[in-house]
C-alpha cells in the first residue's frame, strides 16, 4: 500500500531509501519511506536519471535518481529513530572460533562513531570459563536485549527499545544520571566525562542512529549502526573484521551474513551450539555467540597487539602462566 503511494508520488514529495541489508545476494531487498524531509527538499526537482527499484512485494517501481536518499543527508531525527526499521528483527552472531583479537572491529567502530582511543563500543575481553579450559577472545558490544534493564531504569526515556530489536540512546534527551550504566550487566555503556572539540562539529546533524556527534555528560553505546543498515550495509564492526567473525542479519528472514557468506541464522545456531552470554539473567540478548571450538588460531596469536592492549589481560591467570613460559 505504502509502496503504491510512493509509486504515484515518486517524482515529488517522497524519497526512497534502499534497505538492501543482505546486499551480497539481494541487489535491492526493499525500500522504506523516509518522512519528514526538509522544506528545500520538497521543491520539485528537475526530472533526471530514472532508477528502477524492486519493492518487497515484488513490484518494479521507477523513481527519480535524485530522490534516492543518500547518506548522510538521510537524517533520521531523534523522534523517527524511536520507531525502528519496519519488519526487521536484527541479530548478531559472533563466531568465537574465528576471533584472534585482531581488533579491527574495535578500530572500525571507533572510526565510524568518531570515538577516541580507549573509548570502545566494541570491547574484546579475554574470558576463561573455568580453570581447566583455555581462555578465548570474546568481542563484546551492546547485546540489544529484548528485556533491556537499561531501558527499564531510564527516568526520561532517553534510551529506548525499537521494533527492530535495536536499543538506542538519544543524547539530546539523556540527563546523565548513569543509572543505565549501573544496571547493564554487560558493561555496554560508556559516559562522556568531559567536553571534547569533536562534539561541537555540527557538520553532520545529530541522530541517535549514528550516535554522532557525542554530547558531554551523556551516555553512549553500541547502536548496531542503523544508519548503515538503512543503506543495506553491515555495521562497522562486521565490515571491518578480516576473519568474518561477526555475522549480522535479520531474524525475520532467518539469515545472517558476515559479508563473505550468508547463512541461515537458526541453522547456524543449531549446528554450532550457539548461545547467549549470561542467559541466566533473563535479559534476552540479541547477540549470539558460537562457542570457541575447533579454533582457527592459537590464543597466543591474539597477543600480537600493542603493549598497552596486552597489559589489559595481565590479571587473567592463564596469561600469567603464558608469560612465565615466555610464550608472550
Amino acid at each position: 500500500m505504502k509502496e503504491n503511494k510512493a509509486e504515484e508520488s515518486g517524482t515529488n514529495r517522497r524519497k526512497f531509501l534502499k534497505l538492501g541489508l543482505l546486499s551480497s545476494f539481494t541487489a535491492i531487498a526493499g525500500s522504506s519511506i523516509v518522512t519528514s524531509l526538509t522544506a528545500q527538499e520538497e521543491e520539485k526537482e528537475p526530472a533526471g536519471e530514472v532508477i528502477r527499484l524492486l519493492t518487497p512485494d515484488g513490484k518494479i517501481v521507477e523513481v527519480n535518481a535524485s530522490n534516492i536518499n543518500n547518506y548522510p543527508e538521510a537524517l533520521i531525527t531523534p523522534e523517527e529513530s524511536r520507531k525502528g526499521i519496519p519488519d526487521r528483527k536484527f541479530v548478531m552472531v559472533i563466531d568465537l572460533a574465528k576471533c584472534k583479537n585482531a581488533r579491527k572491529c574495535v578500530e572500525g567502530c571507533q572510526k565510524g562513531h568518531n570515538l577516541d582511543y580507549g573509548q570502545e563500543f566494541m570491547k574484546i575481553k579475554l574470558l576463561q570459563d573455568n580453570p581447566t579450559s583455555e581462555p578465548y577472545w570474546f568481542p563484546k558490544n551492546c547485546m540489544h536485549c529484548d528485556e533491556p534493564p537499561c531501558v527499564t531504569v531510564c527516568p526520561t526515556g532517553a534510551t529506548f527499545k525499537r521494533e527492530d530489536n535495536i536499543v538506542l540512546v538519544d543524547n539530546e534527551r539523556c540527563i546523565g544520571c548513569k543509572f543505565c550504566v549501573t544496571s547493564c550487566p554487560y558493561s555496554a555503556r560508556i559516559f562522556n566525562w568531559e567536553h571534547k572539540a569533536k562534539f561541537d562539529d555540527k557538520s553532520q546533524p545529530y541522530s541517535p542512529e549514528t550516535s554522532v556527534p557525542g554530547a558531554t555528560g551523556t551516555v553512549t553505546k553500541c547502536d548496531f549502526c542503523p544508519d548503515l543498515l538503512r543503506q543495506g550495509l553491515l555495521p562497522h564492526c562486521a565490515q571491518s573484521c578480516p576473519e568474518g567473525v561477526i555475522y549480522f542479519g535479520d531474524k525475520n528472514e532467518d539469515l545472517v551474513t558476515n559479508g563473505q557468506e550468508t547463512l541461515s541464522f537458526s541453522k547456524l545456531l543449531t549446528d554450532r551450539g550457539g548461545y547467549r552470554h549470561l542467559e541466566h539473567l533473563g535479559t534476552k540478548p540479541n547477540v549470539y555467540y558460537l562457542p570457541p571450538v575447533d579454533r582457527l588460531y592459537e590464543l597466543e596469536d591474539g597477543f600480537d597487539v600493542s603493549e598497552e592492549v596486552k597489559e589489559r589481560y595481565k590479571d587473567v591467570p592463564y596469561v600469567q602462566e603464558l608469560k612465565k613460559q615466555g610464550k608472550i
Partner: protein, 449 residues
Amino acid sequence: MNIESRKRELFKEFAPRLETTSMLTKIYIGFLIVIILAGLYAFYLQMSEGQIVTGMRDNVVWGIYEVNFILLVCISYSGAFISGILHFFHTPWKTAIARIVEIITVLSLLIGPIYILLCMGRLDRLHYLFMYPRIQSPITWDIMAIITDIVACFIYLYLTFIPDFAILRDHCEERNIPKWIKKMYKTLAIGYQDTKTQRNRLHKITRTMSAMVIVLAIVAYSVLAWIFSLTLQPGWNSTIFAPYFIIGGLFSGVAFIIITMYLVRKFYKLEKYIRRMHFKVGGIILLILAMLYGYFTFTEYFSRWFSHKAIDTNLLDKLFTRYFWEFILANYVGILVPIGILFFKKFRTIKWVTIAAIIALVGVWLNRYLIVIPTLETPYVPIQDTRIDYLFYSASWVEITLSIAGIATFLLMFTLIGKIVPLVPMNYILDGRTAPDTVQNKDNKKISE
C-alpha cells in the same frame, strides 16, 4: 497568668542567644563560609570541566556523592521517623530533643539530594525528569518520594515552630533583636494566639502530620534501596535491601542525633534540658538498632558467601582483599564496638554514648561505600583496561571538598536556625509534660557525677 509569666521567663532565658553573636561564633561562621566557598569552587570546576575532575569513570559511575546522598537522605528519613514517633506517642522526654531532630530532618533532606545532582552529567536538563517522566524507573519513584518527603517535613517542622514564633512575636518587642527578624516572627506566627481552639487544632494537625511523616519515611527508604536492589548487580540485587536500608538508616540517624545533641548541649549551654537521660535512652535505642543492623549485615553477606555464586564470590574476594580494612571497620568495628560500649550500663554516659555514636556513623558511611563502589568495580564482564583510573575508584579532591562543604553547609544552616529560634521548643516545655525545674536539681547531680 501563670502561663504568661512562664512564657516571659522562657523567652528571657533563650533570648540572649538570639540577640547577640559572640566573636567565636562569628569566626566559626566565617570558617564555615570559607569551606563552602571552596566547595563552590570545586562545583564550578566540575561544571566547567565535566565530571572528568571526579574519580568516577566508566565502571564506577557513582562515587562518594552517591554514598553521601544515601547517608544524608537516610539520616533525614530516620529523623522524620523518630520525630514522628516521639510526637505521635506523646513521648514525655521528647521536649528537649524534638526540635533538634526536626531541624536535622529538614537540613539533611535539603543537602542530601544535592549530592545526587552532582552525580548527574547534565544538570541543565534536570527538567526533563518532569517533561519526559517514565514511571517504571526507580529514579522517578525516588524523585517523587523525596519531593513529597521534603514538602511533608517542611510542613511538619513549621507546625511545630508556630507556637514558638507566637511567643517570640509577643515578647521580642522590648529586646534588641533586628527589625526584620521581629517582622519575620510576626508573619510566621500566622496570627497564632494560643487560644484553646487554636491549640487543639494545631495539636491535631501536628499529630496527623507526624503519622504521615513516619509512613513517608518508610516509603522513601524503600525506594532508595530499590535503586540498588532492582538491578542485576552482585551485592545490590538483594531482597532484604529495603528493610536493611531502613535499619541502617535509623542506626546512622540515631547516631547522628546523639552527636548533634552532644554538640548542641555543649555549645548552647542546654545542660538543663538535654540531660543524661536523653543520652541513656538514645544509647539504648542505638544498641537495639546496632544489633538489628548487625543481624541484617550478617545475613546479607552470609547468604552470599554460603551460596557462592561466581559473581558474588568475586565481589566478596574483592571485599576481603582490596577493601579488607574498610570492611573490618564498617562491619565489625562499626557494629560490634558500639554494641560493646552500649551493652554495659555503666558506659551509658554522655561521653561514651557519643563515642559509640561517632563510631556507628563512620561505620555506616563506610558500609554504604562498600555497597556502592566494590559492586561497580566487579561487573559480570571483567574489566580489562589499561587505564588505572578506570579499574579502581578513588575520590578526587573535588569530590572530597564538596563532601566537606556539605557538612559545613549543614553546620552553618543549623547555626543560623539556632540564631532565629531556640533549639529547645518553648511550647513543648509549656505543655508541661516535663517540668524542667522540678527535675533539674536531681539531674544536675547526675551530670556532675
